[in-house]
């Protein structure tokens, strides 16, 4: 589903965010990306959603080289990727319903279909009764779930999450991860960047670890725990 081949990213000014990163996440897989702040997690996700372009190497989604994608085509790529952010990126002057409906309106769904799909997505994250509220009136966990509803409302085959549990307590974090597991079981590939090691430790998922822009481990959580001293070096 996502394939990185010897990808390096150097920002203007010489800061090297990623060095020769290679990995492959298969369709229907759920994986975590971890590492300290500044290790290159966000940069890696930005290369997938084409918010940044790699300096060297290839990024492929479903076998398509993203280098071939022109800037005019980028919006269509993003419609296939559900993205979730630590800062939610919600429109605070619109209702929860309008926020979740945004991707559908952009794609030109009819009003009836939009309503149906938005209600289904809100139902999945357990916020159907808050549809008419403004996001400002919701708690942090609820806002995050609105963001998730928006990311999955048009059923993308790939979900990317950047620190989705960043501001949440462990119990709420677990609920969010369980939501992702549900989508994963429905066949969606899920790729989550987080520095919440405690969260990952409780689960058996493939975990990729970045350090100073280099991929240092790639494997199941248990394998990674055995080499955990490597992460702390």
């Amino acid at each position: 589903m996502i394939k990185f081949e010897q990808v390096s990213k150097t920002y203007p000014g010489g800061q090297q965010a990623l060095r020769q990163v290679s990995f492959h996440i298969k369709p229907g897989e759920m994986a975590f990306l971890t590492g300290h702040s500044g290790a290159g997690k966000s940069t890696l996700l930005k290369l997938i959603s084409i918010m940044e372009r790699p300096t060297v190497g290839r990024v492929l989604i479903n076998g398509h080289d993203l280098k071939q994608i022109t800037s005019r085509q980028i919006p269509y790529i993003r419609r296939d990727i559900g993205m979730i952010f630590q800062s939610h990126q919600l429109l605070m002057d619109k209702t929860v319903f309008d926020n979740v409906a945004l991707p559908l309106i952009i794609e030109g769904y009819s009003r009836r279909e939009t309503t149906k799909k938005v209600h289904a997505a809100l139902d999945m994250v357990g916020l159907l009764n808050k549809a008419k509220n403004s996001p400002v009136t919701l708690s942090g966990g609820e806002q995050q779930r609105v963001g998730i509803a928006r990311a999955v409302v048009n059923r993308p085959p790939l979900l990317l999450a950047d620190e989705p549990t960043g501001n949440l307590d462990p119990k709420l974090s677990m609920e969010i991860i369980e939501l992702f597991e549900n989508f994963n079981q429905a066949g969606v590939s899920v790729f989550i960047a987080t520095h919440d090691l405690g969260l990952i430790a409780r689960m058996r998922y493939r975990t990729l670890t970045l350090k100073n822009g280099q991929m240092i481990t790639d494997g199941l959580t248990e394998d990674w725990q055995e080499d955990s001293d490597e992460f702390t070096v």
């Binding site: 989604i61 269509y76 790529i77 991707p103 559908l104 952009i106 794609e107 030109g108 769904y109 009819s110």
Partner: protein, 326 residues
């Protein structure tokens, strides 16, 4: 259509609707967005009214000047048609030749009317009108030639075509010389041409100002919605989709400004009508101020909308592309 996943369907494809319904949806979508941007303007009434005011008045000024020039041209059009050519015939031609000439010239398509003033009659008139009557008694022979007064048809009454007609008449064997009093007409035409050019120039400058003002207003709108635009780009909105409401804002500004200009011009015409009537009464001339015709009103409105759209297109093209999610 999905670029990455061939079997994934999107939007309108997934809901099986007919082409007619798709076209309907397209218009319904546009109408919805148009009304949404109208609602945005409504929510910031002061700022919107100021922009519309600047736009309306910028269009009012050249329109009023245009009405002025148009009316002046209408008044002078009446004078132009009075252009008359005086032909002085050679003294040595016989009356028979003169009659021949009159017959010939009368057949020309350029000639509306031809009056023959024989030399005796001319002398008599001159005596009466000049006050030199006694002095003229001493002349032993009539110094005045026979004169033909030629009135060109309407089509050939303009300064240039009348001058061409004069040249043609001068080439006739019997004609000594001819005169066309068009110098003042040429001057008036010059002044009017200048005035018209001045109006065009002022209009051009003001229109440019309007485009810049609208462009700047839309730029501020775009910057105000920066975070919203970023979010829309993140969830896959194309630039075309994002810029549509801003283009509609420009459209509404243009429309409202145009309507404001209409009313302003109508009020100005009404205001000036009484003072113009007072002036023309002094000249004992019947004159009514002509305002803008229906088609001219439409042109004003169309122009205003075009300017509004132009300003927003320029602004949108520059600024929407610049905003990228980070």
């Amino acid at each position: 259509m999905s670029l990455l996943f061939k079997d994934r369907q999107h939007g309108a494809e997934i809901s099986q609707i007919s082409t007619v319904q798709k076209v309907m949806m397209f218009f319904v979508d546009h109408l919805r967005q148009a009304l949404a941007s109208l609602g945005d303007l409504w929510r910031t009434p002061t700022a919107s009214l100021l922009t519309i005011g600047v736009l309306g008045l910028s269009i009012t000024l050249p329109t009023t000047l245009y009405v002025l020039v148009k009316n002046t041209e209408q008044v002078s059009a009446g004078w132009e048609q009075a252009a008359e050519i005086s032909l002085f015939l050679r003294k040595d031609v016989s009356q028979g030749d003169i009659q021949q000439l009159i017959k010939r010239v009368n057949l020309w398509p350029e000639v509306e009317k031809l009056v023959h003033v024989p030399s005796e009659q001319a002398l008599k008139e001159f005596k009466q009108l000049s006050g030199f009557g006694d002095a003229l008694q001493y002349l032993d022979k009539n110094p005045l030639p026979d004169v033909l007064l030629v009135t060109p048809t309407e089509k050939f009454a303009g300064p240039q075509s009348a001058a061409r007609l004069l040249d043609k008449l001068r080439n006739e064997r019997e004609v000594e010389t001819g005169k066309l009093d068009i110098e003042w007409l040429t001057r008036l035409h010059g002044v009017l041409t200048l005035a018209r050019e001045l109006v065009s120039l002022i209009a051009l400058l003001l229109f440019l100002a309007v485009v810049l003002i609208i462009g700047n207003t839309i730029r501020l709108n775009i910057l105000n919605k920066r975070s919203e635009i970023q979010v829309m780009k993140l969830v896959g909105a194309t630039d075309a989709f994002i810029q549509r409401p801003f283009l509609y804002t420009g459209f509404w500004f243009g429309l409202a400004g145009g309507i404001l200009a209409w009313f302003a011009v109508i009020i100005i015409c009404w205001w000036m009508e009484s003072s113009i009537a007072a002036l023309t009464q002094l000249y004992q001339k019947d004159f009514t101020l002509t305002g803008l015709s229906g088609s001219e009103l439409l042109v004003v409105l169309g122009l205003s909308v075009t300017l509004g759209l132009a300003g927003s297109i320029i602004s949108v093209a520059r600024h929407i592309r610049e905003i990228e999610p980070t």
